[in-house]
Symmetry: C2
Subunit: 471 residues, 2 copies
Amino acid sequence: RSEPSDEVEIPLPPPTNPPTRVLDIDEKTPDAHVPRDPRLIRLTGVHPFNVEAPLSALFNEGFLTSPELFYVRNHGAVPEVKDQDIPDWEFSVEGLVERPLTLTLRQLIAEYEQITCPITLVCAGNRRKEQNQVRKSKGFSWGAAGVSTALFTGVAMSELIKKARPRKGARYVCMEGADKLPNGFYGTSVKLNWVMDPNRGMMLAHGMNGEMLRPDHGKPLRAVIPGQIGGRSVKWLKKLIVTAAPSDNWYHIYDNRVLPTMVSPDESANNPKWWHDDRYAIYDLSTNSAVAYPAHEEQVCLKAGPEKYRAKGYAYGGGGRRVTRVEISIDKGQTWRLADIDYAEDRYREAEQTLFGGRLDMSWRESCFCWCHWSLDIPTLELADAKDIVVRAMDESMNIQPKEMYWSVLGMMNNPWFRVTISKEGDYLRFEHPTQPALMPGGWMERVKKAGGNLINGHWGEKLDGEEGKA
Amino acid sequence: RSEPSDEVEIPLPPPTNPPTRVLDIDEKTPDAHVPRDPRLIRLTGVHPFNVEAPLSALFNEGFLTSPELFYVRNHGAVPEVKDQDIPDWEFSVEGLVERPLTLTLRQLIAEYEQITCPITLVCAGNRRKEQNQVRKSKGFSWGAAGVSTALFTGVAMSELIKKARPRKGARYVCMEGADKLPNGFYGTSVKLNWVMDPNRGMMLAHGMNGEMLRPDHGKPLRAVIPGQIGGRSVKWLKKLIVTAAPSDNWYHIYDNRVLPTMVSPDESANNPKWWHDDRYAIYDLSTNSAVAYPAHEEQVCLKAGPEKYRAKGYAYGGGGRRVTRVEISIDKGQTWRLADIDYAEDRYREAEQTLFGGRLDMSWRESCFCWCHWSLDIPTLELADAKDIVVRAMDESMNIQPKEMYWSVLGMMNNPWFRVTISKEGDYLRFEHPTQPALMPGGWMERVKKAGGNLINGHWGEKLDGEEGKA
């Protein structure tokens, strides 16, 4: 490892074009104070605001995502905080501590060391539409763009907890936001041991890609919990509460869980024990990947085109674990090819500098908290003979995406092999992704279901008789 | 969590019956000084000594394994250390450090805090025989008993490294044993960052279940690296070397790797680049499980027997991650049942005491470094209608065992669903495990292959036509 230097070229945010006007569609909602990008795809009607970018638009931005395309998961109305009030935003550190603290954002910035770090956030529901195609879950239909990356600036969460001095018996840090919801303020918890572990990199952030957090992303202060599902990164943060038990917040109990697959929606509604078993709470992300190109409905001309097609996509691991391989099959998993991986995050490790007012120093850390991009050149003629492209990633702990979907009642953490189908239409190849987000029609899963196929027959619903080709 | 107390009943080692005599078979080998238990199954002929216990015998011992049944992976001859020389065993901490140390085991015990902790070790080759049935790998045939648990006593590795004071640029800790092999002393490395992380619990151990390490287990001093493959827990430890790069020891490079699945034995032999890519080195274990009962060739009488059969087995996660569910299917994965899990390791968390001369204090730690045992009652009549029992585990990061095998050239980290077949013979059900260890015949994989089945057709080699029952 070479000496740290200011000379290393680190990825910087893509050009941003901050929305300045409130969209007509938002005018009659409680979010009428929030300007937004019209490209975002709304997943839960007009309000609350839950959105992902079109997958190609997200991927084309590169490693870092501009705040206006960064996915959003809001449970209710966005708290309104005027710019002049930001420095006075108050939050507390309380509970099982010797020295409870209340401080303002002004103090947080003035009195604590500021750090900057690239972190990928992923919604636990990323790719949930696929689960909903197999069997309706209790969650709305994310496509594969519930993932975004930014440079966050703020303070290590451990600094505040240390200052407050946890008492004997303290094991959890609960977080609570300012978003008042039908079941109380949004809140959740993580383990105190994790908060104190520098390798886990948990922070309180006020900056995102060098600017103040925007309203949908927690303005003016949020938790950022790297390597874990987005649902733990509480926005509009008001409280850190050190406790002996996990959060009893409604959203901690009834959201962000993978119940065992045999628990049906009815069973989960009738039997609260499933929700109160902390073993089923989701913390780390699991290994996942998706294809960005070929895009859904992309066409490739077999005549006059280039000899090779460059397939591209993303992959990420959980809990700071690096994706160590991405493999592609064009024969349904019988044989695999190794994709190239670009880990842009690694380029920051060589740098040691101040960025956006925070110290960027990842040289000492072994964990990976960002997505990577993969690519593979495939001869076009081979694609023309194939029925599909599937991709799977494996992390440094040899956790691999399975072929089978693990369906669960909330439809979270969906991570089977990502499959794009290929159909030959005259001189063209046409590609289909598994689904399209929200209620948008399209995708091979919908098509297969309509044709009477059983999506969980182990062959993506294809008929086993009459199967052509190399099956 | 209740107050720590001495009253908690913690699992203690099973009765041990230390072998006192050298077996005839060992008399002509370099290990003629090592008494051994004749029940152990030899996996590589007579010498070197690589063994696992019969799976039932291992499982019947319970949570902790007696040293005489604890699996052994030796690359060569066992260094002979006479009892009177043990206190003078010398080892060093050197390399990129301010203060290189040489100390004796006497000093290690007298001058450092002693700790005791239950830790499961697992060979990276556990269950490799299944890989060898699919396609011959470059490794010998472990069954599913390459896993054992003991209470290890010794010193946190971080204490020694701190004392030696790593210098700037230090990133790895290499370890070297006293076992001289054709390619040098056995050695490997782990990341310095991990060594210094108390949650990873790496230690130097001289005690095992309250007695001195026995010769096959590293007498008088070994590394114990919890949550990682056994191959990192260097035995007969002589050196800790702090470095800027991973170990260049032959065994670190050419062993304990999962090369990408498309790399054939020939390709791996012809192209060294595969071995030198650190991304393919194995550190953390991956999620795994196996059935102990029904045992291989066990018979269950349908007449006059009990109405329910209690299936039992083990599961473990990697990197300290807890197994949060174990699921059983008797219809080939179409539906699943939730097994009960007994995490004996948790009982030590409530205790805080001195055990075997070391401080046992796991109250502060969130990680799980031991196997768990699962069980599930299945109505015998349902078993009689089923063709097989499959089991899969999932860890707290939602890493689940896949249905498919990930074959690789060294055949390591095999962790697909563990499957036991059922055949009805008159009034009896007969069960078959996938394989038997070493060259022992038996198991459904061998039977299916002989019948011309393709083990990787996605149905364990069963024919898709003529398939009876609920398929």
